[in-house]
């Protein structure tokens, strides 16, 4: 299918009112090695318009915006803002020209105050003093105008995720941007917070701000944008006014083919495999409880979903369950046995498998080969040992080849470093390593973060298969869609507390959203 060129698109000029776009991206291409991230992309934007850049993970949305903002340099193509080309390829230039960006991973310094974070870069670095008083006044004014409020002097680490996002938006507004790019702004918010954000964006747009919002969530895009541009495989495959677009058509455009995410068929749960009883974990420096008397059980044949805005204790829960952290109080029972001072290897031996949150930093060792990575948590087990001590490298390689084939990990050979795999293949490798042992309990922490649809459905079916075989799975995820589709039961975490479990069937995202902001009755005893 030929991508329609934005400049020829009649809708584009109709949307902006006065006709001429304030931003036009012309024929941008960008390659990373053999990967084509962007191929001849064109796009335009008008004053007061909200354009959604839609596409699944890996479609090239973020790359395009990083080129626009000057983080990357395009291989070819040009960008024009307010009638003049952007040719320095630096964030500095983009900001100067009135383009601001709210990155998906917030770019804030946790230990510094909101004011510090906002003032960064707004004054010449060589000025011998900083006008903090004036800045404070101006920031108050901006907050009043936009209807935003944040505690200016609080350090970032004390703010909630939603507040941090507001700080990011304020950073842009403080610099008088006229074009604001938001990269997956809803990924970490509860449905209610998303509503608030959208109201804010609408009002900012009505006052003349042009907004590009990057998302892979169709329903959100339809509710906020004036126009959608769909990317797939680095190309523009659709460009239309939101009001006139057909939802199903759009959905197919995003993926290019009909991919159906598998879902679970209800079945009764089996015997209890893992239980946490009144587990408390305190932060080492502040002594604040990151997990507060948590009770949880996981039984055979069930997937228990953990919902919650990130930073509410999920990380501590995951590290207790993987044996990296011994709880300060409470009992951790695995297969009927109380684990006093568990270590990751001990838990592996008792049939627990874990898919860590961050593939790159916790899941694999990028510089090591595929077969070595496949071996990592099997080191405590029999088959790769010879004479008790020596690693049987041939055996390990042989096993690796089998796993690579079985789990369809796309690679050149088992000797190549893992760092060169795509995100989806890396995750398949981690799953292969964990599922090959047919574990009884699986801790899946953000198992599909950043993956494309194909990989997501592979991961989901692997998890569902494991559950159907009799494993109990704890699924920690920010993707409410995934959570609701896969979970037999759902628990919600907020501020270190955990709600009673709710049956997954019939649960809606909105109900969960309310609980995620702390509205569940769980008075600590």
């Amino acid at each position: 299918m030929e991508p329609p060129s934005a400049s020829l698109d009649p809708l584009a000029s109709a949307a902006g009112g006065d006709g001429s776009p304030i931003l036009s991206i012309n024929g941008i291409s960008k390659h990373f090695g053999s990967l084509i991230a962007n191929q001849d992309i064109s796009l335009s934007l008008h004053t007061g318009e909200i354009v959604a850049l839609l596409g699944e993970n890996g479609a090239g949305k973020t790359t395009l915006m990083n080129i626009l903002f000057g983080h990357y340099r395009a291989d070819s193509g040009s960008i024009e803002a307010f009638g003049k080309p952007l040719d320095q390829h630096s964030p500095e230039e983009a900001l100067e020209r009135g383009i601001g960006m709210v990155h998906q991973h917030f770019t804030l310094a946790d230990n510094l105050s909101v004011l510090d974070n906002i003032m960064l870069g707004t004054e010449s670095l060589w000025k011998p003093f900083s006008r903090r008083h004036g800045a404070r006044k101006r920031l108050k004014q901006i907050m009043d105008d936009a209807g935003l409020s944040v505690d200016i002097d609080s350090p970032i680490r004390n703010l909630s995720v939603g507040e941090r996002q507001r700080v990011e938006i304020l950073k842009a507004l403080y610099r008088d941007v006229r074009i604001l790019i938001l990269d997956e702004p809803t990924a970490v918010l509860t449905p209610q917070e998303v509503d608030d954000l959208f109201i804010l964006l609408r009002s900012m747009a009505s006052r003349g701000l042009a907004i590009i919002i990057i998302s892979h969530k169709l329903h959100e895009v339809l509710s906020i944008s004036d126009r959608v541009v769909v990317l797939r495989g680095g190309r523009v495959v659709g460009n239309a006014r939101t009001a006139e677009v057909d939802r199903n058509q759009l959905a197919e455009m995003i993926v290019g083919r009909a991919v159906e995410r598998p879902s679970v068929v209800a079945r009764p749960a089996g015997e209890q495999l893992l239980a946490l009883k009144a587990i408390t974990v305190r932060d080492r420096t502040t002594r604040r409880a990151t997990l507060n008397r948590i009770d949880l059980q996981i039984r055979a044949h069930e997937i228990v979903g953990v919902a919650g805005v990130s930073g509410n204790g999920q990380a501590a829960l995951a590290s207790v369950l993987s044996g990296l952290c011994t709880p300060d109080e409470g009992e951790f029972i695995l297969q009927g046995e109380v684990m006093k001072r568990p270590t990751p290897r001990m838990l592996t031996g008792k049939g627990l498998a874990r898919i860590p949150e961050d593939r790159h930093s916790q899941g694999v060792i990028s510089e090591m080969s595929l077969w070595e990575n496949l071996l990592l948590d099997e080191l405590g087990q029999q088959p790769v040992w010879r004479m008790g001590l020596v690693l049987d490298r041939n055996m390990a390689r042989h096993q690796a080849c089998q796993l690579i084939e079985e789990y369809d990990v796309r690679c050149h050979n088992e000797e190549q470093p893992v760092g060169l795999l795509s995100g989806g293949n890396m995750q398949k490798l981690i799953l292969a390593r964990n599922l090959a042992r047919s574990p009884d309990v699986i801790l899946a922490n953000q198992p599909t973060r950043g993956l494309d649809e194909g990989a997501i459905s592979t991961v989901h079916s692997l998890l569902i298969d494991a559950r159907n075989r009799g494993a109990g799975i704890l699924l920690i995820t920010e993707d409410l869609d995934e959570l609701l589709r896969l979970s037999d039961r759902v628990v919600v975490m907020h501020d270190g507390h955990m709600s009673e479990s709710l049956p997954g069937a019939g649960l809606t995202a909105r109900e969960l959203g309310l609980r995620m902001s702390g509205a569940f009755d769980n008075s600590p005893t």
Partner: protein, 348 residues
């Protein structure tokens, strides 16, 4: 600039890093030689002859390569696990001190028992010197670089105290030196009328054993994993603290063995100037060898040759022998760049 992992590193590319380092350090040295007013060719010829040109030079180089191999191995294993042990100098003196305590008459055994015994106690003492940094790193997350560095000074002062106090040889006429190692503990000379001693066998054996352990054992695999990404290694269940304990013990043991071979092989008794910074040069040795135990032997010989050669050049030409240290230092820095280029591809 983006760095991209290479799919595989061909052998010539992995050799290019140390070669580049050598070329760069020779270049820097030539600039300094030009400054001194001597001829570059003459100077390097004098160095080469001094280091490898005669039986005396060659045996001097080899006998200096012995402690450098040991301390190079100490750095290599520790750095592989990203346990930055900069305290090999102190551990060397611990090994020497232990050998002195046991070897100056406490026990009298046959050479067959005595020499291995000295190495064992020396290695143990060296390993023990790393216990505190290991404990502080794994339990209290205190950076090991600073603790090992500071312990060097503490240990050296302790040795100084021992040499002026309890361990001073009554026959030394007031010099701060310990009693000589008894005859059965002395490493025999290999070439008559030179200082080359049997410590070289121990050094070679240590390198081979360490290579086998790191390459083939589960422990070696864990060390590699831990060094490349300790976070992922921990998540996969590799016991970090325990693995690091053995890394620390092995690393300290190697440095301790260096002290033993110097005391029982080269000097015969413990003094405060036993090591002219072997512990620090060991880091350069290991880096130049890309942390490979067998490579350590080669790079130790090379760096030993540079320092022996520079000494002899310093005696005959007006080039201060500190030029050897400068070459060592610039080799460390340039090998870092070389390693990056050989492991990664640079993309814009």
């Amino acid at each position: 600039m983006r760095l991209e992992l290479r799919e595989s590193v061909p052998w010539w590319l992995s050799l290019s890093a140390p070669l580049m380092a050598i070329v760069l350090s020779l270049l820097l040295a030539s600039m300094l030689i030009v400054w001194t007013g001597e001829s570059i060719l003459d100077a390097f010829r004098m160095m080469a002859i001094g280091a490898f040109g005669s039986t005396f030079g060659l045996t001097e180089t080899l006998s200096r390569a012995i402690p450098l191999t040991f301390t190079g191995l100490a750095a290599a294993i520790a750095f592989r696990a990203r346990f930055y042990n900069i305290g090999a100098e102190g551990q060397l003196y611990c090994g020497a001190l232990a050998a002195t305590l046991v070897g100056t008459g406490l026990l009298e055994l046959n050479a067959i028992w005595m020499i291995p015994l000295l190495f064992i106690v020396g290695a143990l003492a060296g390993g023990c010197a790393l216990l505190l940094p290991w404990y502080l790193k794994t339990r209290l997350s205190v950076d090991e670089v600073v603790t090992t560095l500071l312990l060097n000074f503490v240990i050296l002062l302790l040795v100084s105290y021992a040499l002026e106090g309890p361990l001073r040889d009554p026959m030394s006429m007031g010099w701060p030196q310990a009693a000589p190692i008894i005859d059965s503990g002395i490493l025999p000379a290999l070439v008559p009328r030179t200082r080359l001693h049997a410590g070289i066998y121990f050094a070679l054996a240590a390198a081979v054993i360490l290579w086998l352990v790191l390459r083939f054992s589960v422990f070696g695999f864990s060390v590699k994993a831990l060094g490349l990404n300790d976070n992922a290694a921990r998540h996969a269940g590799i016991p970090a603290a325990r693995t690091l304990f053995w890394v620390a013990m092995l690393s300290g043991a190697m440095a301790g063995a260096a002290g033993v071979s110097e005391v029982a092989g080269l000097k015969g008794y413990l003094t405060l100037d036993l090591s002219p910074g072997f512990g620090y040069t060991g880091i350069a040795v290991a880096m130049l060898a890309n942390l490979h135990p067998l490579g350590v032997v080669v790079s130790a010989t090379f760096l030993a040759g540079i320092s022996v050669g520079a000494d002899s050049m310093g005696r005959s030409l007006g080039v201060p022998s500190y030029i050897a240290d400068i070459m060592v230092a610039s080799a460390v820095l340039s090998v870092l760049i070389g390693l990056m280029l050989s492991r990664y591809r640079i993309r814009r």
